[in-house]
Amino acid sequence: MAGHTAGEPLECYSIPIVLEKEQDIDQQGNPVLEPDGKQRYRCGFRIGGGIDQDPSQSPQGYPDKGVYVTFIHDNSPASRCGLQLHDKILQVNGKDFTVVTHKQAVESIRKKPVLKMLVYRKGVPQLPKSSNQMGAHTQFQAYNQHVPQQQYNAQQPQYHQQY
């Protein structure tokens, strides 16, 4: 799982986390507003990474171009929801995060007031060989990514069945 190449198929256990944002307020207790007047929400964590970034430059030494949690503010929705430092975010509200740019990741996170995420955490057990085994009743659920379309059309035969 570590060092996953973006775009390759991926299968691993992941941890589901629900984060409900809170209203952003400044020191005086006034709500902070977006430029267009809407209330701003905060999650309380920082993300780094993305396919347009070079992980070898990351101070934390992340192994691949995924999106990682680089900091969690105290007393924030992030700290309360179970998210941990250095979690790799796999999916947010249904959007796959293993092949996104940094900016896309930030935008997706900022979109909704509630985030349903799937994260990968180091130390989580390896997925066993047979893909039929689902640990769905535990805290972990198997996360399957579909193979994205290859750059050149990888032709697969249609007239005799594939495995």
Binding site: G7, K95, Y152
Partner: protein, 819 residues
């Protein structure tokens, strides 16, 4: 007229029974064989019974239809006087005495005639039997019945033999089992030999099959003995048994498979043959065998056998076993890979000419070629070239399997060299009559020409363009063929030394009308997307501008753009409340269509008449709207087409009237360099007529925003000093950007910027422009757009194709953001 009196239940007997005359058989003449003697006895027994036919009375045969041949004479049923009449010998010529004599003679020889008909092998040589046949073309009843009665005779003989064998075997088998289990190896050997003999004959074979203890004893003897002859006999027995369903079942149930797999290591060739053919039969017909062979380690053994053996029939059976085992089973494929299978299989394809072997091997390669681990191994072992060797073979099944395998492998082979012969054959095969062949050839060409400029040049040199255009014309609305063919053309018309020739060739072979036609229904989105990309490439060649316009490409492209755009808008408005809709139609995202169509219009807009058409189609508002798109690629192509349109005064005015200034100014700050550059260019062109101080302010702002990331420059050259040649040049953006590049270069050398900068490859500064979606913005990993042309010979081979250079920013940075 009727022959014998045929009652249903006593038919055969009747047919054969005749007179109770003394037997003419002399037993001493008969062969010594017991069986034959018995048969003789039986024959003679039958002779003794009186069937009553010889009575001479006329009888009717109720069961035989009597719409008869009146002239037909038969024996014993006719009134003598009637006989005489039918013989037409002249009733006068015989008196009653003579007639009686003739009758008697015929009676006496009747049994001979019957015997001669039924048992010709028993007739002594040279005996003349009077015949009753009157007319040559009218056979007598005996003659007509002679063949069926002989067949019947054979059947009965077989039955008798069979019964004997079966009896013998049933008595002998328990004995033999005991002997097979004996301690003494010689005894075991003898017993095994005997069983082998028994297994050759059908009845005894059945007896063996029906005795599970016998099979078990055999297998045990085979596995435990050190005497190779014993093994051979036992293996031979099993081989004989394996031709029958019960035999297969018996072998399977008695655990024969592990023992047979072990035999695959035997040094004796006959044992090997027996073992592999038995296993082959089991794999073909016995349920559960595949799993058993896999578990017994059969795969590894079989792959190693491929190395050691030269016998083509043996190899054919072995490869067929591998195919059966690997089909649909991922683990088997991986085991074959680990055992060195791909190398051996490729070697076989290269070395042999026996068709059946080539065919079975190609099937194994086909099965392995869908496995992503096997694919690179096969390609590296030279699989593509080996398969290509047989594309001209007369065996259709071999050619087809090779093509399927090649197609599966082709996406892993794009970096391969020495595919020249293959490419040549494929171009030839495009003119085949077989649809499957054409489809495969097009697909393989499409993949092999992707990002490989050597292959592209080769295909062009062997008249691939002409062949592809013709294929597209002939395929009509068969998208299975047209789509890969169009993709191949798209690859061939960009980014290689012969691209320009290719762009012209498409036109010269009358490809343009049919391509524009493919933009219309019933074409589905994947094909449309490919055609739009191809048209964009074709538009790089100025000679194509007018023909494309004349064939009505632009209105249709605009139509597609509008439709796709409306679709994205609709989806965006729906999804603002709920989860985002991914919006694939036929596997194509409408955003990709928007980008493709605008990109094509961008290149088409290089020509003045085309620009007039585009303006006339009222696209400018849409382009301006697209500037607001969140997808960088769309921003880029929209800014690009506006940049071209702004070259004309009317265009520039219309753009400004649509309020493009605001979004363009916004886009100046884009991280994507191409976007920013085009935006700057449009703003600059729009400012042509403005007062001087406006221009100066604008240029300051433009340059400052373009250089925003760079704190080191002291005196940036002013934007308006950049040469921005307009319509007379083909590639205004490239020149401009070329000078930008040199400005960057200048900045480098002047300021001595350190390693953080853009020193990498010129790609960074050029990447935004016309390079297709090589950077991963907007939508995930690249699909098949990396081939959009750039007229310069830019070498993109060192880009990681999966991701492309990052979206416009310094790739060496890494930062995090608070959310």
């Amino acid at each position: 007229m009727s022959s014998y009196q045929m009652n249903a239940n006593s038919g055969p007997n009747r047919a054969m029974g005749t007179v109770g005359e003394p037997s003419y058989m002399d037993l001493s003449n008969m062969p010594v064989d017991n069986k034959q003697q018995q048969t003789m006895m039986w024959q003679q027994n039958q002779y003794m019974s009186d069937s009553g036919i010889h009575s001479g009375q006329t009888t009717q045969a109720p069961s035989i239809s009597s719409k008869s041949h009146g002239e037909e004479v038969d024996e014993g049923e006719m009134d003598p006087s009637k006989m005489m009449f039918d013989w037409g010998l002249g009733a006068d010529s015989y008196n009653q005495e003579q007639v009686d004599e003739i009758n008697q003679q015929l009676n006496q020889t009747r049994s001979q005639r019957v015997r001669a008909a039924m048992f010709p092998e028993t007739m002594p040589e040279g005996v003349q039997i009077p015949s009753t046949q009157i007319q040559a073309d009218q056979p007598t009843a005996v003659q007509r019945l002679s063949e069926p009665s002989q067949m019947l005779k054979h059947a009965v003989v077989n039955l008798i033999n069979y019964q004997d064998d079966a009896d013998l075997a049933t008595r002998a088998i328990p004995e033999l089992i005991k002997l097979l289990n004996d301690e003494d190896q010689v005894v075991v050997y003898q017993a095994a030999m005997m069983v082998h003999q028994l297994s050759k004959k059908e009845a005894s074979r059945h007896a063996i099959m029906n005795s599970p203890q016998m099979i078990t004893a055999l297998i045990r003897a085979m596995a435990n003995t050190e005497d190779i002859e014993t093994t051979r006999c036992a293996a031979g027995t099993l081989h004989n048994l394996s031709h029958h369903r019960q035999g297969l079942l018996a072998i399977f149930k008695s655990g024969g498979i592990p023992a047979l797999v072990k035999l695959l290591s035997s040094p004796l060739e006959s044992v090997l043959f027996y073992a592999i053919t038995t296993l082959h039969n089991l794999l073909l017909h016995q349920e559960g065998s595949k799993m058993a062979v896999r578990m017994a380690g059969g795969l590894q053994k079989m792959v190693s056998l491929l190395q050691r053996n030269n016998n083509v029939k043996f190899l054919a059976i072995t490869t067929d076993c591998l195919q059966i085992l690997a089909y649909g089973n991922q683990e088997s494929k991986l085991i074959i890979l680990a055992s060195g299978g791909p190398g051996e299989l490729v070697r076989i394809m290269k070395s042999y000419t026996y068709e059946k072997l080539l065919w079975t091997t190609s099937r194994v390669l086909k099965v392995l070629s869908v496995c992503s681990s096997n694919k690179p191994a096969i390609v590296e072992a030279g699989g593509m070239q080996a398969l290509a060797m047989h594309l001209g073979h007369q065996s259709q099944r071999l050619v087809q399997n090779c093509l399927w395998s090649l197609r599966n492998l082709s996406d892993a082979a794009t970096k391969m060299d020495q595919l020249d012969h293959l490419l040549q054959m494929l171009v030839q095969l495009l003119s085949s009559n077989d649809i499957n062949v054409v489809t495969c050839a097009a697909g393989i060409l499409s993949n092999l020409t992707c990002n490989n400029h050597r292959n592209k040049v080769m295909v062009c040199q062997v008249n691939g363009i002409e062949a592809l255009v013709r294929t597209i014309m002939q395929a009509g609305d068969r998208e299975d063929i047209t789509e890969p063919a169009v993709c191949a053309l798209r690859h061939l018309t960009s980014r290689h030394p012969e691209a320009e020739m290719a762009q012209n060739a498409v036109r010269l072979h009358y490809g343009l009308p049919v391509l524009v036609k493919l933009l219309h229904p019933p074409s589905r989105w994947p094909l449309i997307k490919a055609v739009v990309g191809l048209i964009r490439n074709l538009a790089l060649c100025p000679a194509n501008h007018a023909p494309l316009r004349e064939h009505g490409a632009m209105p249709r492209i605009v139509q597609l753009l509008i439709r796709a755009h409306q679709d994205t808008q609709r989806r965006a408005s729906i999804s603002s409340n709920g989860p985002p809709l991914t919006g694939y139609v036929d596997g194509v995202r409408m955003e990709e269509i928007v980008e493709g169509t605008v990109g094509a219009l961008h290149i088409l807009a290089r020509e003045a008449h085309n620009r007039a058409v585009i303006r006339g189609l009222n696209c400018i508002p849409l382009f301006v709207q697209l500037l607001y798109s969140p997808i960088e690629n769309i921003q880029r192509v929209a800014a690009g087409v506006l940049c071209e349109l702004a070259a004309d005064k009317e265009g520039a005015e219309m753009i400004e009237q649509e309020g493009a200034t605001a979004p363009l100014t916004e886009l100046l700050h884009s991280r994507n360099e191409g976007v920013a550059t085009y935006a700057a260019a449009v703003l600059f062109r729009m400012s042509e007529d403005k007062p001087q101080d406006y221009k100066k302010r604008l240029s300051m702002e433009l340059t400052s925003s373009l250089y925003r990331g760079d704190p080191n420059w002291a005196d940036p050259p002013v934007f308006e000093e950049m040469t921005m040649p307009l319509e007379d040049s083909r590639d205004p953006m490239y020149n401009a950007q070329g000078s930008q590049g040199s400005m960057y270069g200048g900045a480098h050398s002047d300021m001595g910027r350190g390693p953080t900068g853009y020193e990498q490859v010129p790609i960074d500064s050029m990447q935004g422009l016309d390079i297709g979606s090589q950077h991963g913005s907007g939508y995930g990993p690249m699909d098949n757009l990396p081939d959009l042309a750039s007229p310069g010979d830019i070498n993109f081979d060192n880009i990681d194709p999966a991701l492309g250079p990052p979206g416009g920013d310094n790739p060496n940075q890494w930062y995090d953001t608070d959310v």
